[in-house]
């Protein structure tokens, strides 16, 4: 592990392999929560937080339970279990210590459980930083960084989309294209722009 590989991961996760715009994971909040900037950003921060924490837990589980017992094929189901339980715990903690934040996040918090981007990043971590059931050097730090910046990329995409959609409200869009249809077109154009970071492959 070196500093350059960390920087590589950061740039890759935020821009080149942006979870929403290049990997097409977590599309439901991207369309559903991007109508206004404020909830979009709080959703992004919540997702980033859950991504970071669940990557730590799943890494530990994978390394010390699934690999020693030789049951790595249970990866998906255990990871879902971890994420669901963890989101429940976060919900309880937030509710206990900040009722205002709990109300502000509202439905988004339980929605994170079913967000495929979270599962996606944990699976990606185990794919990239484990080889033949052995950890690669710096695997833990790298997977944590990858998860956090995948969340940052997610937040960035949500922020950009919500800013565009806020302006779209005032634009004279044809009647049949109003709302979701024009949002899909915008998403496609943004995705095309982000593909440019990776270079087109034919």
């Amino acid at each position: 592990m070196s500093l350059s590989s960390l920087i590589m991961i950061i740039i890759s996760m935020v821009f080149i392999n942006n979870f929403i715009l290049s990997k097409f994971l977590g599309m439901c909040p991207f369309i559903g929560v991007s109508r206004e900037t404020k909830p979009a950003v709080s959703m992004g921060i919540a997702v980033t937080f859950v991504m970071g924490c669940s990557s730590v837990i799943t890494w530990l589980l994978y390394r010390y339970i699934l690999i020693p017992f030789n049951v790595t094929y249970l990866r998906t189901i255990t990871f879902i279990l971890v994420i669901a339980a963890f989101v429940q715990l976060v919900e309880m903690i937030i509710r206990k210590f900040s009722i205002t934040l709990y109300r502000a996040l509202g439905i988004y918090l339980p929605l994170i459980t079913t967000n495929c981007a979270i599962l996606g990043v944990t699976i990606l971590n185990t794919n990239e930083f484990f080889k033949d059931s052995a950890t690669l050097p710096g695997s833990f730090i790298l997977s944590f960084t990858q998860s956090i910046f995948a969340g940052v990329g997610f937040t960035l995409a949500l922020l950009l989309m919500s800013a565009i959609r806020e302006r779209l409200e005032f634009v004279d869009v044809p009647e049949s294209m109003k709302g979701i249809p024009i949002a899909f077109i915008v998403a496609a154009l943004m995705s095309l722009a982000f593909m440019g970071f990776g270079g087109f492959k034919f």
Partner: protein
């Protein structure tokens, strides 16, 4: 043995997480007042902000603490208010019902000064020399008020003027603050007569741009048996404390700038 291993691993993991969550929920349990949900059910839940509290839930919390009275909420119906007072065990005070009223009858009757091709909201149009209408005071007709209404009590009429659906209006005052021309006011529901114009121009100037504006002819002022109308700044202004709903003003007004709701 081979097939038992995943079963055991998963069951133990599930048990571990389950126990952890159960423990956490005991430790982190939040005691919520059961009255809160009951009150929330009776409140409209539109978070209109007319009471000045952070949403309906903030209002409900202060209700339980006794910091505010139910009458501070203008959006709740009488039946629901009675229900809330039953939950809280306090009496409801009588409130004067109000309703949003638009004070402009121009709309399509007023010509445009120029062709406006900008962003289609009143707020944006108002920034361009006070909007495209020939009357500097009148309704611009893009319906910012319709968008602002949280109760769906406003719709754009064919005249190019928004219409208030009185059955749905809760008098939250969102339209009053949304209108860049300040054309809305909250009037008492039992006083149906109002001035359907806000133009402070001289009568001659009003006539040149709008056939239905107030020209300050003072006929209404003279006809009113209770002296409830006064001409201030070339505009008929009601004093609803004196108005007895005689309706004389409506009969004498030459431009129909005095109107009756409903």
């Amino acid at each position: 043995m081979e097939f038992l291993l995943p079963v055991i691993v998963l069951s133990l993991l599930g048990l571990g997480f389950g126990l952890g969550l159960a423990l956490a929920s005991k430790k982190l349990c939040v005691q919520e007042d059961p009255r809160l949900t009951q009150i929330m059910k009776a409140l409209p839940g539109a978070n209109c902000g007319a009471c000045g509290k952070p949403g309906c839930i903030g209002f409900a919390e202060e209700l339980i603490q006794g910091a505010v009275s139910i009458s501070a909420c203008v959006a709740t119906e009488e039946e629901e208010k009675a229900e809330i007072s039953k939950v809280l065990g306090v009496e409801v005070g009588e409130t004067v019902k109000t309703v949003a009223v638009l004070h402009c009858n121009g709309g399509k009757k007023v010509k445009d000064r120029f062709v406006y091709k900008g962003v289609k909201t009143c707020a944006a149009s108002n920034l361009v020399m006070g909007g495209q209408k020939a009357c500097a005071y009148g309704c611009l007709g893009f319906g910012d008020c319709v968008l602002a209404c949280p109760f769906g009590a406003m719709e754009m009429g064919e005249e190019g003027l928004p219409k208030v659906i009185e059955g749905k209006c809760k008098a939250c005052g969102k339209c009053v603050s949304a209108c860049p021309k300040n054309l809305f006011s909250l009037n008492r529901q039992d006083k149906p007569y109002y001035t359907n114009c806000v133009s402070k121009d001289l009568g001659k100037q009003v006539m040149s741009v709008c056939k239905v504006g107030c020209i300050a002819c003072r006929k209404c002022q003279r006809s009113c048996p209770h002296q409830a109308i006064e001409i201030k700044n070339n505009l008929a202004v009601f004093d609803y404390a004196k108005c007895q709903n005689s309706g004389e003003c409506l009969k004498v007004c030459p431009t129909k700038a005095i109107a009756k709701r409903g």
